[in-house]
């Protein structure tokens, strides 16, 4: 569960990522710098997790995103963590569209906090999700008019945001200074209000929430 592929065109950042991940016990199987190389690496090496920059050569557009989407079409659920200088709902929705887990979409700034970043990489590698708080805020804002969401209490909304970012109950309880049972109670209430089927599995629960947010 620790073979990782890195696709990033800036040498300094690529090197930094390699060192960071090696220091945390990952094996970097490849560090590539262009879209075609990335797609080849994803399909042939099938890394446990890949860290991919959206903008890559040769076109410097959304090469990395396209390669990730193409690879995940062939190998459903192939874990990919997409990094970008900016987050767009549009890209998040495309990444979430297939409904299988193992997906992450974070701002590059999040690399600053090594522990949280490595935690996000692990989560994605295990089939979970790691969504940037900024993109979750945007997704929720564009659902603001939606009745069930408006019915949530402020606390429930905080829990929903944390959950949509891909965090487990334990992580949420730590972040919001709540007991785990309180978090469980809030999640049960959120699921009831949104009309989603409750589930004990963290990942499946997150996916249900994201699918809900993505559906409009």
């Amino acid at each position: 569960m620790n073979r990782v592929l890195i696709a990033e065109d800036l040498y300094l950042l690529r090197d930094g990522l390699v060192h960071l991940l090696q220091a945390h016990g990952f094996t970097v199987v490849a560090a590539v710098e262009s879209g075609p190389e990335l797609l080849k690496g994803l399909l042939e090496l099938r890394p446990d997790v890949s860290i991919v920059d959206v903008r890559l050569p040769p076109t410097h557009t959304d090469e990395g995103l396209q390669a990730s989407l193409a690879a995940r079409k062939q190998i459903p659920g192939l874990p990919v963590l997409v990094l970008s200088q900016h987050v767009e709902q549009l890209y998040a929705r495309e990444l979430l569209a297939d409904g299988s887990g193992g997906i992450g979409y974070l701002l590059k700034d999040r690399v600053f906090n090594a522990e949280q970043f490595v935690d996000a990489v692990r989560r994605v590698a295990e089939g979970g999700t790691a969504m940037d708080p900024e993109v979750i805020a945007k997704l929720i804002a564009s659902n603001a008019r939606n009745e069930p969401l408006a019915a949530l209490t402020p606390r429930e909304r905080e829990v929903l945001e944390a959950m949509a970012e891909g965090r487990s109950n334990a992580a949420i309880s730590q972040r919001l200074y709540l007991s785990e049972s309180a978090v469980a109670k809030h999640t049960a209430s959120i699921f009831a209000k949104l009309g989603l089927a409750p589930s004990d599995d963290d990942n499946r629960r997150v996916l249900a929430v994201l699918a809900y947010l993505n559906s409009r």
């Binding site: 903008r55 900016h86 549009l90 700034d109 600053f112 945007k138 564009s142």
Partner: protein
């Protein structure tokens, strides 16, 4: 039929007015130039223009001949110098009256259209008299012939059309340069007040860390965390600035997806319809993107709208954008600076903005950017008319005949004195005509080849230049 006769009679009746006018105008012209009563010239020229404009309108309405107005734009009002005086050549004036009059005089005298109008006024009554039988017998045909005659003198010449285009381009270029300079200043301010200041703060924090790291490692660690947060904030700030310069999603995905991303981020419920076969040029994409962004945020902020529709489509080389919202309406480009800003941005592409926003809504804003899309999208420009294609095919099919057998081969036969005449025309002719015929044949063949190459090559250019080609007796 009856209506046509009515028109013909009206045109003929105008002869009386025109003849009288022509007399008076000639006298005024004579007085102003022969006797130096120059003050008579501008009113005279303006009166002639009125009459010519009337004739243009009548011809436009009554026949299928279109005549455009050829006049150069009027000079701008004089601008005072720093000392409050108005300059005209080397003289300074206290009031703008004399410089304004001078400019007006120069404008009227130097515009070729003024003189073409005068010639038209003198000749038109005569032409009408000559055409009278045709007009009365075949009014339809006659009106058309009269329209064509009017077009000869009243339509803009290539020169005046180009001059008009130049002044229009100058105006739009200034607008574009202005709005670009304003953008630059805004970006400079953003970077200066935001990003730069934050980086200075980070640098200072790091300096403090350097001093504390040995004496008070705990405080140093706290400061480092602060510096990291500050760098994160700087990045957020920088992202905002970059979005204002050129949104990343526009660079990465193009107009269609960038507008979709805009729609997702908008608090409104936005429906996006885009039908673009390819990506337009980057400046066009940016102008449209920022216009749509401004309109959507206007609708959300002032219009109190809940839903909006964005429709982007093409019509030949024209890009059409329509943004509709169900807000309370009452938007006015004259009041809101946002709409004026969009107008300025679009002006660089000759784009026009139409706002339909009755009080109570809904608001529809449509933008049209003519000729911004490459013509190969439509595939219309390269198609030649059938007769041209036929000519080219015939030329290629026959040009070999005069060049080779009748020209070069016949020449070789003659040089080497071969008796055989076969079907070579030149060799059947009497001796003195043989060489001229051979040379003529070769020249004809070469000419045909050149034509066959030139016709398709010049076709595109002709289409492009069609509006500005001098087809008039003088330009």
């Amino acid at each position: 039929m009856l209506r046509r006769y009515g028109r013909v009679l009206a045109l003929l009746a105008l002869i009386v007015v025109q003849a009288a006018m022509a007399g008076v105008m000639s006298v005024m012209l004579l007085l102003s130039f022969a006797l130096g009563m120059v003050f008579l010239f501008p009113p005279q020229a303006m009166l002639v223009r009125e009459l010519a404009e009337l004739n243009r309108r009548l011809v436009r309405d009554w026949t299928d001949v279109t005549i455009e107005s050829p006049y150069l734009p009027a000079p701008p009002p004089p601008v005072p110098q720093a000392d409050g005086m108005y300059r005209s050549d080397r003289t300074l004036y206290k009031t703008p009256r004399v410089p304004a009059w001078n400019n007006r005089w120069k404008w009227l005298v130097s515009d070729p259209a003024t003189w073409r109008d005068e010639v038209w006024l003198l000749l038109d009554p005569l032409v009408k008299v000559v055409l009278a039988p045709l007009l009365l017998l075949l009014p339809g045909r006659g009106l058309r012939v009269y329209g064509l005659w009017s077009k000869k003198l009243l339509d803009p010449t290539a020169a005046s059309r180009l001059a008009g285009q130049v002044s229009h381009l100058q105006r739009t270029r200034n607008l574009a340069a202005d709005s670009q300079a304003a953008e630059m200043r805004r970006i400079e301010r953003d970077l200066h007040d935001g990003t730069q200041a934050r980086l200075v703060a980070i640098g200072m924090t790091l300096g403090a860390v350097e001093q504390l790291v040995e004496t008070d490692p705990k405080a140093a660690k706290a400061l480092l965390a602060k510096a990291r947060d500050a760098s994160s904030e700087t990045l957020t700030e920088l992202r905002r600035v970059i979005r204002g310069i050129h949104p990343p999603v526009l660079a990465e995905r193009g107009l269609a997806d960038a507008v979709r991303a805009l729609a997702m981020d908008s608090p409104l419920d936005v429906t996006v319809e885009v039908s673009l076969p390819h990506r337009p040029e980057a400046p066009v994409e940016a102008a449209v993107y920022f216009a749509v962004s401004e309109l959507l945020s206007n609708a959300a902020r002032h219009g109190d709208a809940r839903t909006a529709t964005v429709d982007i489509s093409t019509n030949a080389a024209t890009l059409r954008v329509t943004v509709t919202d169900d807000g309370m309406g009452g938007a006015d480009p004259a009041k809101g600076s946002g709409l004026a800003g969009i107008e300025r941005r679009l002006a660089a592409f000759d784009g026009v903005l139409a706002v339909h926003s009755p009080p109570g809504g809904p608001t529809t804003v449509s933008m049209e950017l003519p000729n911004v899309l490459p013509t190969y999208w439509t595939g219309a420009s390269t198609k030649m008319p059938r007769w041209k294609t036929a000519t080219v095919v015939i030329l290629w099919a026959t040009a070999w005949c005069p060049t080779f057998p009748q020209g070069i081969v016949a020449g070789i036969f003659k040089v080497f004195g071969i008796e055989e005449k076969t079907w070579f025309l030149a060799l059947h002719l009497p001796e003195p005509w043989q060489w001229p015929t051979i040379t003529g044949m070769i020249l004809l063949g070469v000419l045909m080849h050149v034509m066959a190459i030139r016709i398709p090559a010049t076709h595109d250019r002709e289409k492009f230049m069609a509006d500005a080609t001098p087809t008039k007796p003088w330009c």
